[in-house]
């Protein structure tokens, strides 16, 4: 990327006398800028001082003490600002940038608004300003492109002509008078522009990074010009006929002729080989045509002027935002699409080669491991849980007259089964794209369910807001910061030293406990089994009283406890047995060991995003109408029934919003992977792959294609958003 700068400085100057002139002017400009800079800094300081003083002064009663406080704190704050602005270099540039951009935008915005306040009351002033502004703009453009001689003089005269013509057209009502004014001013402006026209304007050529001069004088063929003009006039008349002869035909005729003249004068002829006389004819003719067109329009009446004011206002308010969106979102998106079909530097069309590269690269898209899915423990356990959940749901459902009926217990078990099966699938299928899908699935599911669970748990609990704040806090931490924080959590030190990462300490600790066969070991086993027995008793009782689904849930949650007790007895945790019988501690390489290191990275994002889902769900739950809950209780629904049958359906739209937001966010995951593994150890994701291809290898074609893949992946969400907004807007 930066290579371009070198090219520019080599060829980026041109041997034109103007250039030297420009340098001299630039030096003078720097002096002016320094003064301006100083003035702005002073302005900022005094502005802060005044603002502080006014704020305090107007806060309440005006006693002498308050007045003194206002003045002194204003002075102190102003001095502080001044000191900061003048001493800390960074602060100065920033503050200056902000102040200048705010002042400039505000000025333009206010001026535009004031200008379009005029039409209803002061029409002639409006037309004067518009005329002057239009002429100024056109000549400034010509000037900027170095297309005319004596640019200063010409621009000034043109502005004056524009202003006078605008004023006259805004006041004179007589038809022929208007025509004379329009034709005269238009011709004059055309002559002004073209009589001094140089044979060249400046063009910057992208590929060589060098300036090129591009000739523009048109070589007129008067026959062609006349033909084009007459042709345009005929087309204008035909259109007028076709559209129902609404206005007098003169306007249509003139419009057609003018456009035809422009085509014949500027588009059709060979540019650059013509003479000044040619240019003069082409310019004056076009000017006369446009001027006459303007003059033929009568002065609008009051209601029309009001409409001009109203509709222009909408665009004044919209253009800054829409312009930004167009330059930073829409045009770049189109260009990325375009680049994705071209080679590394965007020079040659290569068809679908980049996309082919993506899907044929084993690092990005690899289905080879699919046979491994069915053998994995995760898959078997998951499938089993799913089976249990579904079977029990069917049995329970039959009894109450449904084909199948999920409830908290069975639904939860089935959901865990689905998640485990999905993990097994994603752990077996390798490559960037599957990693991304794995991220999207895991983070969306776990983060929204954890957020929902915490929102429910915290609802009306004591210290609710404190608990929620602490869970929410990671939202304020950057992804980079979170990555660093979790690197310390996952730290694995050499086994001969004590572990300093929390998770490996726990893991090695469990290993030691399991090996020790001491008191702690037995206590842990008894605790696990005791809890499991308690859950078992609960399960049996619940089953007997008809709460079959709670029973299944309790029984299933007892299983891991039993498994843990068994594993502890059998030996589990951070140790390994060497061949010679030695037992040494061993750590988990959370970040390095594929494929499950992906899940440890996902945990970081879950840690951050759960606060977000919790806050939204919490608000949605609190917004459920109290009458509904009351009615459910009166009807004898239990807490869990109220939750699943009343609250969940009520917050359904919120669940949709949260999941779509999360999917978009997770699809683009970048920072965490970049900081923690940089895509190594089989943790690559699309966004990081794209960044590496585009910005470290400078392969813009492949990078763009990867961006497009990402874009296509979020397209469904985009359409869902559109429909949602449409619904809300109706």
């Amino acid at each position: 990327m930066r290579g371009r700068k070198g090219d520019r400085s080599r060829n980026g100057h041109f041997r034109d006398a103007d250039e030297l002139d420009g340098r001299r002017r630039a030096r003078r400009m720097i002096g002016v800028l320094a003064v301006l800079n100083f003035a702005i800094n002073i302005l900022m300081g005094s502005g802060v001082a005044a603002a502080a003083a006014v704020l305090i002064y107007r806060g309440g009663s005006t006693s002498t003490v308050r007045r003194a406080a206002a003045v002194s704190s204003g002075i102190v704050l102003g001095a502080l600002t001044l000191w900061g602005v003048f001493t800390v270099e960074k602060l100065e540039t920033t503050a200056r940038g902000v102040v200048i951009s705010i002042l400039a935008s505000a000025l333009i915005f206010i001026l535009a608004n004031k200008l379009f306040d005029l039409p209803p009351s002061r029409w002639s002033l409006f037309t004067t300003l518009i005329g002057a502004g239009f002429a100024l703009l056109v000549f400034a453009l010509l000037w900027g492109n170095r297309a005319i001689d004596d640019p200063v003089l010409r621009t000034m005269v043109a502005t004056l002509v524009g202003a006078v013509a605008g004023y006259l057209l805004g006041t004179v009502q007589h038809r022929w008078g208007r025509l004379v004014i329009g034709v005269g001013a238009g011709g004059l402006l055309g002559a002004l522009a073209t009589s001094g026209m140089r044979s060249v304007i400046l063009v910057f050529e992208l590929e060589q990074g060098a300036f090129e001069l591009w000739p523009i004088l048109p070589r007129l063929n008067y026959g062609v010009l006349a033909g084009a003009t007459v042709g345009g006039a005929v087309i204008g008349l035909l259109l007028w006929q076709f559209r129902g002869r609404r206005n007098p035909p003169v306007r249509a005729l003139l419009l057609g002729a003018t456009l035809g003249f422009l085509v014949g004068g500027w588009l059709l002829p060979d540019l650059g080989t013509g003479t000044k006389a040619n240019a003069l004819v082409a310019g004056i003719g076009a000017g006369i045509g446009l001027g006459a067109l303007l003059a033929l329009k009568p002065i609008p009446d009051g209601s029309k002027r009001g409409r001009i004011e109203g509709s222009s206002r909408a665009y004044i308010f919209l253009i800054p935002a829409l312009g930004f969106i167009a330059t930073t979102l829409i045009i770049p998106t189109l260009r990325t699409l375009f680049l994705s079909f071209r080679d590394t530097r965007g020079q040659e069309y290569v068809g679908f080669l980049n996309y082919g590269d993506i899907f044929s690269s084993p690092n990005i898209f690899n289905l080879d491991g699919w046979t491994g899915i069915f053998g994995s423990k995760l898959f078997i356990v998951g499938a089993l849980l799913l089976l249990i959940g579904v079977v029990v749901s069917i049995v329970v459902g039959r009894r109450s007259g449904y084909t199948i009926r999920f409830s908290p217990g069975t639904g939860g078990v089935s959901a865990i089964g689905v998640v485990l099966v999905a993990f097994a699938v994603f752990a077996a299928l390798r490559g960037t794209i599957f990693n991304n899908l794995w991220w999207v699935f895991t983070v969306t599911v776990l983060s929204s369910s954890a957020g929902l669970a915490i929102a429910v748990l915290a609802d009306r609990a004591r210290w609710e807001s404190l608990a929620k704040s602490l869970i929410f806090m990671p939202m304020a931490i950057s992804f980079v910061g979170a990555g660093v924080i979790w690197r310390f959590m996952y730290l694995a030190r050499d086994v001969s030293k004590p572990q300093t990462g929390v998770l490996n300490t726990v893991w090695v600790g469990i290993g030691n406990l399991s090996l020790s066969r001491g008191i702690g070991f037995f206590v842990a086993i008894i605790l696990c089994l005791g809890l499991a027995i308690l859950l078992g008793v609960l399960a049996v009782r619940a089953w007997r009283t008809g709460e079959r689904t709670i029973g299944v849930g309790a029984a299933v949650s007892a299983l891991p406890l039993i498994w843990f007790a068994y594993a502890l007895w059998h030996g589990v945790g951070g140790f390994e047995v060497r061949e010679n019988g030695d037992i040494v501690a061993s750590t988990i390489q959370f970040v390095q060991k594929a494929p499950y290191n992906n899940m440890w990275l996902m945990l970081v994002l879950i840690w951050i995003q759960t606060g977000f889902t919790m806050v939204i769900f919490s608000a949605a739950i609190k917004a459920v109408p109290g009458d509904l809950l009351e009615a459910a209780r009166v009807d004898g629904a239990s807490e869990s029934q109220t939750f699943w049958r009343v609250i969940i359906p009520q917050i359904y739209p919120t669940i949709g919003v949260v999941t779509t937001t999360l999917i978009v966010l997770v699809m683009k995951v970048f920072d965490i992977v970049k900081v923690m593994t940089n895509g190594n150890f089989g943790t690559q994701v699309i966004a990081n792959e794209m960044w590496q291809r585009a910005f470290t290898e400078l392969n813009f074609g492949l990078g763009s294609a990867l961006a497009v893949v990402l874009f296509i992946a979020v397209l469904p969400i985009l359409f869902m958003n559109i429909r949602r907004i449409q619904k809300a807007a109706v």
């Binding site: 998106t333 683009k668 585009a694 910005f695 874009f711 807007a729």
Partner: protein
């Protein structure tokens, strides 16, 4: 299912039931502790010496000798040292990026949101939907062309003529903060317009009508009525955007590229973390410092932040 009464269920027994009732609270606080441990560990470790950090986990702070193992050196070192200037400079850079990138979009979005909400013009609805639907476009879609624009200007090759015209001059913006501001502004606008429009379109219609009767034009209505009334939502968006831009890494590292002296704190920390081995003990302090300001802003203005998030999603 209907056999269970709200008072606890006959089959389960009162004691079991009350035990069951208290489980949620225990689970909640267990989760809160689990959620806090990572940040707490980093925070504590940032005050421990390099040797202490390497020898034992942060929880040893409770039992070890304070005077020997606790220090502020990590902070002093990270703030001052570094080839590109200390973290001090990076933190200032972060502010220099985040403040303008917050202020600029607010102004533009407020104008646009007002126009979409209260000015009648042709094609208003579809233009609004088109604008807001850009919310979901991944930033990756724009990065390459934007960087080309900032580092080489914008050009268009005219068909047939084989000439290239310059639409946007090469201002050599890549590597400067301006490029990051502009990019953030563009990316923030759809969301900002959406958020502000939700609020501004919900303001009572009467006040606008009476203002029009009093002879106020749109410009006056905007400044005198809409801006003062929308302060809550403006603040909400400002906090949201500030946290977002302050914490951003992708756009900063892409647009600033090799200009390490202009890197914000996130990019500096990420670079430090790449050389994990040597500066590990400083990384704790660095990571904490870089999150300090967002956390303060977050806790001080949480109410607005939550309002912003909710207005952006639940109402949608």
């Amino acid at each position: 299912m209907t056999m269970l009464s709200s008072s606890g269920g006959p089959g389960l027994g009162k004691r079991t039931y009350s035990l069951l009732r208290s489980i949620p609270t225990w689970v909640l606080w267990l989760l809160v502790v689990l959620w806090t441990i990572p940040s707490l560990g980093l925070f504590i470790n940032s005050f421990r010496t390099r040797n202490a950090q390497r020898a034992s986990g942060w929880w040893y702070v409770l039992v070890e000798d304070f005077s020997e193992n606790l220090t502020l050196d990590n902070y002093v070192d990270i703030l001052a040292s570094g080839s590109q200037g200390g973290l001090w400079r990076a933190l200032l850079n972060s502010l220099a990026i985040a403040l303008p990138a917050t202020v600029i979009p607010i102004a533009f979005a407020a104008f646009a949101a007002y126009a979409f909400a209260w000015i009648d013009f042709k094609g208003r609805e579809w233009l609004f939907i088109a604008t807001v639907s850009l919310l979901a476009i991944p930033a990756q879609m724009s990065l390459i062309p934007l960087l080309q624009l900032y580092s080489g200007g914008g050009h268009i090759t005219l068909p047939f003529l084989e000439k290239t015209l310059t639409l946007f001059p090469d201002l050599d913006l890549a590597g400067r903060h301006v490029s990051v501001w502009l990019t953030h502004t563009g990316f923030a606008l759809p969301f900002a317009i959406f958020l502000l429009h939700n609020y501004i379109s919900g303001l009572p219609k009467d006040i606008f009508e009476s203002a029009v009767i009093d002879g106020a034009d749109h410009f006056k209505i905007f400044w005198r009525l809409v801006v003062p009334l929308s302060v809550p939502v403006l603040a909400a968006f400002a906090i949201f955007q500030f946290l977002w831009t302050y914490n951003d890494y992708l756009i900063a590292v892409t647009m600033l590229g090799g200009a390490g002296q202009n890197f914000p704190a996130t990019a500096r920390i990420a670079a430090l973390s790449g050389e994990f081995g040597q500066a590990e003990h400083l990384l704790t302090a660095g990571a904490f410092l870089s999150t300090l300001l967002p956390i303060i802003v977050f806790f001080a203005l949480q109410r607005f932040f939550v309002t912003g998030i909710l207005a952006g999603s639940v109402k949608g």
